[in-house]
């Protein structure tokens, strides 16, 4: 759910109405409930549609989060108890 949380946090920064589609389902990008229920697992293609004055910035930021920053995942995210070296 961490990726969903990051996604929702980014979407929340914009005024535009942002919708995300996965197959036939379309949900509000600012709702974590709707985003998690979309069940977009890794490798899923998402369509993002934004409407509003900052729509372009919003889609760019979301694209950046997903495609470039990969949800800030550091390589090999580890379970609890692991000490980072």
């Amino acid at each position: 759910m961490r990726p969903a949380m990051l996604f929702v946090d980014v979407a929340g920064r914009y005024h535009s109405d942002i919708r995300v589609s996965h197959g036939p389902t379309t949900v509000d990008a600012k709702s974590i409930m709707q985003m998690t229920m979309l069940a977009a697992t890794c490798g899923t293609t998402l369509k993002i549609l934004a409407q509003g004055d900052d729509a372009r910035q919003a889609t760019d930021a979301l694209r950046e989060l997903v495609e470039v920053q990969m949800f800030h995942e550091t390589p090999a995210k580890r379970p609890l108890g692991e000490t980072k070296t």
């Binding site: 759910m1 990726p3 929702v8 709702s31 974590i32 409930m33 229920m37 490798g43 995942e73």
Partner: protein, 577 residues
Amino acid sequence: MEIRKGIAVSPGVSIARALVMDSREQRIPRRSILPSQKASEIDRVAQAFQDAIQELTKLQSGTTIDQDNIRDIFAVHLRFLQDASFRKRITDFIEKELTTAECAVSTILREIASHFAGIGDPYISERAADIYDIEKRLLQKLVGKSRDVMDPLREEVIIIANDLTPTQTAGFSKTQVRGFATEKGGRTSHTAIIARTLGIPAVVALGDIIDSVSEDSRVIIDGNRGVIVIDPNEDTIQEYREYAQNLRQLGLKLDSLKNKPATTRDGVAVTLLGNVEFPDEAKMVKEKGGQGIGLYRTEFLYLYGGTEPTEEDHYQAYAETVRSFEGKPVVIRTMDLGADKVPHGHKLHEPNPVLGLRSIRYCLQNLPLFKTQLRGLLRASVLGDIRIMFPLIGNLQELRQAKMILRDVMEDLDEYAVPYNPLVPVGIMIETPSAALTASMLAGDCDFFSIGTNDLIQYTLAVDRANEHVSTMFTAADPAVLGLIRSVIHDAHKAKIGLSVCGEVASEPEFIMLLLGMGVRTLSLAPPMIPEVKQIIRSVSIEDCNHLARKVGTMDSQRQIKNYIRDAAMKIMPEAF
């Protein structure tokens, strides 16, 4: 007195009072309201949300939370509580269905949870537990009952629960907790991770135990054998006190064995490797004197972290481990998810998942996922003695297919001039009867076998060990299982390929002599058990083991075999029993 067997997920022995944390479903009756009461029920929902948000914010910044992952979990819960469309769904339900706030919260959260539970992806279905956690918090706010955060504990306790939620474990001080015993859960469940982190014993998948335990029950938890004893009698308590005491002494004694070889009295060397579930256990393998890793499970990469692991994730995880093992073997098993490995017991949509799309079968049908892992693995193979192992191979065709994909990936790497070890050893788990029976054919196409006894027993005897009605039949001390193991060992030796045993029997003291006598010379086991098994090996002669194995070969019942090998092992090392 009641003795129950589950899955041991964290070692150690404790005796303490039981503390039951009942997280089972709170049944909320469907209560109707009058239209005129709608507004006040909706207000109650708003108040409950506000209280829950406040509490979570406090919990999140509180000093009781020492792990980032838990902080993350609460951050997600907070987002849910702040999600207007989520709250609207609940208030809409009140508007439309005219029910109490409690009923609306419970209904809607259960709808969401069952939506998650029904998705055939282990990572997402696991999230149903989070939703239940949110539900519980909201209900507690509504009912006004104090949460199950315990008062500062005045005495040592063993926590008994259905399945521990992150909130529960974050909510109590850990200093007085001596063990966890849960009805549900698996090796990778939250309970298991926390117990390991805290270094206390834990046993999961015990089935219905809550009803057998009352508030002042005493409980013995044995995290080495996966047993709990409820309301033990004085004799049993005394027995376990001595056992715990012996374990401590044994531990000290065994520590001195760390640098001594695992060689029998008559000079036959045995290789002891460690099974690793999480990367932090690799350290323990070395501490306990293991000579490498015989089974590096990679499922954690898929179950934690939230997204499917990238090639880089794989590479980094394997690289770190293999580097720390400096030239010693590290056998990495490719993804083995499906069936029981799905956290919190949520199954894929399969009527019979154990016989379904799991493990290598899943990989062969999801090539991008499989190739990503193989690329990471191959890249790491130049850093040390990495070996690749495919799980659940059922026939030669599957093995060849998997190897063909490995070659494809090698060719891809060649194209980009990425270095890898072209001679990386490739082996398979022998854990299906079909693989065991065709081992002589499979041996021609791989470099080593590793016998995975847990699945082999399950598939050979058709016994589910998590099913209490039949679980007593689940044992490797069975003529059919031993017959298969014997023939696999024979076939491996004949083909001159490597052979090891990496199932749970390799860490059960009573089986060590038998395995040695059957010709096994490499064992891969849970790291905490390495010193004990080494001690047994150093106390026996191969001649004795051979004699024992021959004798067992003539026996025709589980009971006879069990008693015989147990007696033999007790003579060697009475303090281990």
